[in-house]
Symmetry: C2
Subunit: 429 residues, 2 copies
């Protein structure tokens, strides 16, 4: 069998079609993913828990049953800060070593009801926040990071170890590692999916993240999670699409790869017939990057208080710092951030409604060396604005490393945004 045809290389939609027409079994698909993991995990280290036997049991069970959804029989990786009843959930914290939740997180339970195979748990920055970095390496160059905090999910999907995975985003934890690892990803509109059973850092910011290797696959996941806009998506073609090129107030932070990726995307979209026009956001948006940090750290005071009180010696100093408010953020600072964000949400929805999508960077540049999470400077504002963000891969930058770009749009237009992404993604390759 040639490499291109092994089942681990299939997108979830491709695999789903083959499962439905019986040219593939879940058992074969899951076995191929487990083989790929066995081959690659010693170098990439995306996974913290895989029970191959249990995964194969789920796959064989799926093969016996009528399909319950398009995801039936498809393996999915779960970031290890999302509860699973049949696997440990450690948040990469020594406090949670061996922790076995009694219940699945809502997002895992929904996957099981859809017939998906829960393949294993992927590595994460401690509490998806700070402290201990993930051990994951970038599949394109293992001397570089896969990004954080959804380090393992992005790497596993980008490296064809699993077609789909769940992550989370509070700053840039879904989109940035997707950019570093060449994966498609969607951070949906805030609140559209339940966060029950996902460890809390910041209620205002924490959002589920979805990883896949095609826009079709992100659409499949949206179907399963009942992520719908008010109206069905309007048809979109690259030709005539109105794209706002928004370098954002943080453009000075762009480094190696991102200026090229943005220029490449703008040029590719134009060549395909899109109207790409420059968008400079009003000055009121400039403080939102710092304000996202205020919200995250200030809400982190409450999030880690129980651990600071109960198991202080096991809690990383980064989290004591949040609880003790070493940043010195006042409640007034937090209110200013809440209120400015609320006003800018209204304003951004209004501005972005004039375009089919807003094009903006996914990360400062290519994945840095080491195992740093990377800088969330280009993600923070969008997370705080609660808008959907899609990472589109396809551009290869310096050192042969992938660099993605983000498409975003008004709140609760996730499916329309995916329709735009689907029209534009092929132009980047």
């Amino acid at each position: 069998m040639s490499d291109a045809l092994t089942p681990d290389r299939l997108t979830a939609s491709q695999a789903s079609a083959k499962l439905r027409d019986r040219s593939l079994t879940s058992e074969t698909l899951v076995r191929a993913c487990l083989d790929r993991i066995a081959e690659r995990d010693p170098a990439v280290r995306a996974w913290v828990y895989v029970d191959a036997e249990a995964a194969m049991r789920q796959a064989r069970e799926a093969d016996k049953q009528p399909a319950r959804s398009a995801l039936h029989g498809i393996p999915v990786g779960i970031k290890d800060m999302i509860d699973t009843a049949d696997m440990p959930t450690t948040h990469n914290s020594p406090i949670y070593t061996g922790n076995r939740p009694s219940l699945d997180a809502s997002v895992v339970s929904i996957l099981r009801s859809a017939g998906a195979v829960i393949l294993g748990k992927t590595d994460t920055t401690e509490f998806a926040a700070a402290g201990r970095p993930a051990g994951t390496r970038n599949p394109f160059d293992v001397t570089r990071t896969s990004g954080g905090s959804s380090a393992g999910s992005a790497a596993a999907v980008g490296d064809c170890q699993v077609p789909l995975a769940l992550g989370t985003q509070t700053g840039g934890s879904t989109i940035r590692p997707a950019s570093f690892c060449g994966a498609f990803a969607l951070k949906p509109t805030w609140g559209v999916v339940s966060r029950e059973g996902i460890k809390i850092y910041s209620l205002t910011l924490d959002t589920l993240g979805l990883y896949a290797r095609s826009v079709d696959d992100l659409d499949m996941l949206c179907d399963v999670y009942a992520i719908h806009d008010d109206a069905a998506p309007k048809p979109v073609t690259a030709k005539g699409a109105r794209i706002a090129l928004c370098r954002s107030p943080f453009w000075d932070s762009a480094t190696e790869g991102t200026p090229e990726a943005m220029a490449h995307a703008a040029e590719a979209f134009r060549r395909a017939g899109a109207e790409v026009t420059e968008l400079e956001l009003p000055a009121s948006f400039a403080p939102l990057g710092e304000m996202q940090r205020v919200v995250m750290h200030a809400e982190g005071r409450a999030a880690f208080l129980n651990l600071a009180r109960g198991v202080p010696h096991l809690l990383h100093d980064d989290f004591h710092s949040r609880v003790e408010n070493r940043d010195g953020y006042s409640r007034r600072n937090l209110l200013d951030a809440y209120d400015q964000a609320a006003l800018c949400r209204i304003e951004f929805d209004r501005i972005a409604a004039g375009y089919d999508a807003v094009l903006t960077p996914s990360a400062p540049g290519i994945a840095p060396e080491g195992n740093t999470a990377g800088d969330a400077v280009f993600n923070r504002m969008w997370t705080l604005l609660h808008v959907p963000c899609v990472n589109l891969p396809g551009f290869i930058g310096p050192h042969g490393m992938p660099v993605g770009v983000t498409l975003t749009s008004p709140r609760f237009t996730d499916r329309q945004l995916l329709a735009v992404a689907k029209a534009l993604a092929p132009t980047l390759v």
Copy 2:
């Protein structure tokens, strides 16, 4: 021992002082509460789980240790939608019968670190939302409701079965039952306490609620949960206090008891030397009651999706209604509610900053007959505004039933509000 002196009648602060000077042991205190529960629970039915042996073990353990906080050795009741590792957590749903979480909720863990005794679980409306009512009756008249959804916590505290209890509020689930049962309660500013391990209904609205029998006790709980304003509370006296009398846009819903309670409070505050002036909120606040319902029901779509998919036959039709969006609320309706609420938060903080507190109803009137949760019409707007709300008891209305009033103030002025409440509460009795 005269009835007035039995330890179950002590407020938490009174008990704490006696525990510190060794004139009382936690064992004696907890035994007195268990005795009171044994006497009263057949009629009031506040508790769904009490393990007397385990509670006594915790009390004896507390007596052996040096005090870890003012709450050391004090028993606390926990609403049965808040996770406890050593007791079942059922949310009053057949889906969760026998559910044993592997971890305590953050708010329970913090109580344990403070040395408190977790006495048992109190009854709740199903998922603190709808569906099955709590079985709890009003301790003042068991033919009447104790209110929902924190039915058991309000009744147990009001009836001297436990000095402190935890509830939650999404609509009026903390303040309304406090009003019905003659308890003090604080719904703190949204987000100031972690909601980890508390079942989700609506992220934008769900807030921990605190029950006690004095303002001092609410202050003690705030200390333990690190609920602090930017500045230490300024001294307040009833004399000279500036109180806004706000009948709210929902005054037409007031029934038996609330007009009298509001008139009584205004008169009592004035007699004590406060300046009580009428406050009519701008017209932009009028839609907030309905908008709270939009947010709650729309966010409930995501909250119960996993149960609708996984165990549809065990899920009450009220929750299928949320998931299926039988109200027909659009995403646009939800955004309008989010954005209007955000603008009104800014406006209310500005308006309320001109007063020491805003006086407003806690409920439409006395507790109705039966076991209905009651109408949250006077609470919905404040929950959506994220502001702290204190229920002050003291007034006895028709049929000998208690009717409370609410004091509220700008976001993150919880401790200042308690200082005002402390100055004004004695005038109501």
